[in-house]
């Protein structure tokens, strides 16, 4: 058991934290949000330069072969800065699927371009009716003479409006919600029949509704063996949840610091409000929630390498339950402790609150994960070891 970072990991942590500290203060973030894509292309280039965009990929694809810990380090820093860029969509989800399920040709064509910052991806998987069931895919792909024809609707695709390519899930067989029969395809966002409607989200990010009408693909556009995509989808979803857990911990840390600082400086009735015991205790409860969340983000990261997908999923669900509960508590209480200023758009703390809120409906809400964990028997076996 060892909680220390390696020398390389410490360097990564320092460099990404410095970048965010220097280039991602609240005013800069507002500027970035006003760019056409809703995030900073310049920052994206910076991430590429720092090697963040190729982090999880093998060296031959321009990456550095980083694992879960490296992703955690980056996401935690991003969480502090409430960054807007499509790192999760492009690197973790999109790139993750290509690396996991793609052919050598697909990897070679796509991963280096992610790593150098020239290609943005989005994972067009969720559908309006699916809620949080990863196997609920009604979009269809049917065989055509020289490939596939896709038909369907994708909903709330994170950064789907700015992506150059979409990884689209579609059903080639079976019923809605069947585990088998799901395929993944690499679809050019500009392809005929792809309609995108982009919009801002409550937390300042971007998403898109995507309609796929008679979209024609080549056989070589399939990612992995058609019909057997669900395990890959589950695996990248688990990685995304671990990444979001780390992002949440970064955001909680910042929210905690901002709130404690506010308690020290804000005066009422002639004294700093941080001298009021009830508010002190609330701040301590925020710290407790933060430390518990930090522990579970570590747990999620470690368990990504677990060989048994059921054990991995249990750990990720457990971590997600803790992250969501801590995030909700910290977000709501940080706003409450700030009083009026916490409610304003011009002040940073409310944006953390909104980000925690948006996380709650990303890849399964708290109840979804608690139910999944409970169904799987929980974390403690009833029978003694």
């Amino acid at each position: 058991m060892d909680f220390d970072f390696s020398a390389e990991q410490r360097m990564l942590k320092e460099s990404v934290e410095r970048l965010i500290a220097e280039r991602y203060d609240f005013d800069q973030r507002k500027q970035y949000m006003r760019e056409p894509a809703g995030f900073s292309r310049a920052m994206w280039a910076q991430y590429a330069e720092l090697g963040l965009l190729g982090l999880p990929f093998a060296e031959k694809y321009g990456g550095s072969g980083g694992g879960g810990i490296e992703a955690m380090i980056v996401m935690e820093a991003f969480g502090r800065g409430l960054t807007l860029e499509p790192y999760l969509a492009t690197v973790v989800l999109g790139g993750g699927l290509v690396a996991l399920a793609g052919s050598e040709a697909q990897r070679a064509a796509i991963l280096p371009r992610i790593a150098d910052g020239s290609l943005l991806l989005a994972f067009a998987h969720g559908e309006p009716q699916a809620r949080y069931d990863l196997a609920d895919v009604a979009t269809t792909a049917r065989r055509d003479a020289d490939g596939w024809i896709i038909e369907g609707s994708k909903s709330f695709v994170a950064h789907g409006d700015s992506a150059d390519k979409l990884i689209v899930s579609a059903r080639i067989d079976g019923q809605r919600r069947d585990a088998r029969g799901i395929a993944l395809f690499i679809v050019d966002a500009a392809a005929e029949g792809v309609q995108r409607r982009g919009y801002p989200t409550q937390d300042g990010l971007r998403a898109a509704e995507i309609r796929l009408s008679n979209v024609k693909l080549r056989s070589s556009d399939a990612l992995g063996e058609p019909g057997k995509a669900l395990p890959s989808i589950q695996q990248v979803s688990d990685r995304a949840l671990a990444a979001i857990a780390a992002e949440a911990v970064g955001a909680m840390t910042a929210a905690h610091e901002i709130t404690v600082e506010y308690l020290k400086t804000r005066k009422q009735f002639g004294v700093a409000i941080g001298t009021f015991q009830a508010l002190q205790h609330r701040a301590v409860d925020i710290l407790v929630n933060l430390e518990q969340a930090r522990s579970m983000a570590l747990y999620a990261t470690m368990m990504l390498d677990e060989a048994d997908p059921a054990e991995r999923a249990k750990a990720i669900s457990a971590a997600t339950v803790q992250i969501r509960r801590s995030g909700k508590f910290i977000g709501q209480q940080a706003v409450q402790l700030h009083g009026g200023i916490g409610m304003t758009l011009e002040y940073k703390i409310g944006h953390y609150f909104k980000r925690f809120t948006a996380m709650e409906s990303t890849l399964g809400d708290t109840d979804h994960h608690l139910a999944a964990l409970a169904r799987a028997g929980g974390l403690i076996a009833a029978n003694a070891s």
Partner: protein
């Protein structure tokens, strides 16, 4: 003892309910049902409909357009309004400045203002909070200096709700800088169009414009707009604070939200079941319903006991109303968030206002759910945060 309504009360409820059903414009009702924001016109229109019926200011004295309803009738009226759902009459007018003018204003002030308050010809906003004061109201610093027959006002107010829509402001100003905290404060009515008065928006985290900063730069206010005596404004403000006992819990509004959440959850599928049919969701909602029912009865107890208590004595049960009421308002918005799931996360301001021409992302109702959740966080902050409420209850009711 009988918690049930009497036949007369039931008949009254039916009358109110029928009136709301018939008199409320369909466009306003639809916005209320969808949780959409109302325009200034919507609010004015509705209050004038109420006023025409004689129901805009039911708790005022008969001579000023009020009714002789019992506390129970007033309670029924408010509940039915929130359940209709119909918008409340503008609280600043009817529950705040109106009662103060009735209690402390001159006959001339009454004749000048009260009819216009009831009919929403004048839209009032409240100028109490200041930067650096927050829940510590008495530390306010905006000054008013008498210069001939005018006060000259300088300073700044903040968190001024809907100041950008208002014609007038009732305002606390410091008229004696030497006096300590509560003393030396006066209560002024200020025309928002007066020269030197500037309103600047404070956008909130729901992306909307509820609040403002208001700046006073040598704003000249006729001395006849002073309410009561100079330097006694704090007394009038406190009278106002005690004046609003029920209704603050907004039980009807929370009930309406829960009702909506149950309806909508029946349309959201979780696997092959509707969300509304899962044990987990039903029990979570039932737990809130229990607390709401308890609060509803607590509120009725406060209403009913009010006549047995001397005016200065606060019913211990009344302390529950703000604290638990805001907690339940927030819980109800959280349930709606859970029902909407990711659909709530699209930011669609035009659909929030009902002014969009295109179809919304997700179901039509989902555009309002997140802004509602975000904005309702303010319920436990404004009007004396729940922490301040607990301080007050600990001191006044528990004697700690």
């Amino acid at each position: 003892m009988d918690l049930r309504f009497t036949p007369e009360e039931l008949a009254f409820r039916d009358e109110v309910r029928a009136f709301f059903r018939e008199a409320q414009p369909a466009s306003i009702r639809r916005k209320m049902e969808l949780g959409q924001r109302l325009s200034r016109d919507d609010i004015v229109t509705w209050q004038r409909i109420l006023n025409a019926r004689g129901w805009a200011v039911p708790h005022w004295p008969l001579e000023w357009g009020g009714t002789d309803w019992s506390p129970v009738q007033n309670y029924i009226f408010k509940e039915e309004m929130q359940l209709a759902p119909a918008p409340d009459p503008l609280g600043f007018n009817v529950s705040m400045v109106g009662p103060v003018i009735i209690a402390f204003g001159t006959e001339a002030q009454k004749r000048r203002f009260l009819p216009k308050l009831a009919n929403l010809d004048y839209w009032f906003c409240q100028g109490f909070s200041e930067p650096g004061a927050g829940s510590d109201l008495a530390s306010l610093r905006t000054s008013a200096r008498l210069d001939g027959d005018h006060y000259v006002v300088n300073g700044q107010k903040i968190w001024t709700s809907r100041a950008h829509l208002a014609d007038w402001m009732f305002c606390l100003v410091r008229t004696d800088a030497g006096a300590k905290l509560q003393r030396g404060i006066s209560y002024l009515l200020i025309d928002m169009k007066t020269a030197g008065l500037t309103v600047r928006p404070i956008p909130t985290i729901d992306g909307e414009h509820h609040f403002n900063e208001v700046f006073f730069d040598d704003v000249r206010v006729p001395a006849e707009n002073l309410i009561g005596e100079e330097n006694k404004g704090w007394t009038y403000a406190k009278y106002l604070l005690g004046n609003e006992r029920t209704g603050i819990a907004r039980v009807g509004a929370s009930k309406y939200r829960i009702q909506r959440a149950k309806q909508l959850a029946a349309t959201v599928m979780v696997g092959d079941r509707a969300l509304a049919d899962t044990e987990r969701f039903r029990e979570k909602v039932a737990a809130i319903e229990v607390e709401l029912k308890a609060l509803e009865i607590t509120q009725m107890r406060v209403v009913s006991n009010a006549r047995n208590l001397p005016p200065a004595v606060q019913d211990p049960a009344s302390s529950v109303l703000k604290i638990k009421g805001t907690e339940l308002q927030q819980a109800a918005t959280e349930i709606l968030m859970e029902v909407a799931g990711a659909h709530a996360m699209a930011l669609q301001s035009e659909h929030l206002w009902g002014t969009a021409s295109d179809a919304p992302v997700g179901p039509e109702w989902s555009a309002t759910v997140a802004p509602d959740y975000f904005y309702t966080r303010a319920a436990s902050i404004y009007g004396g945060s729940n922490e301040i409420q607990r301080n007050v209850v600990a001191k006044r009711i528990l004697g700690l």
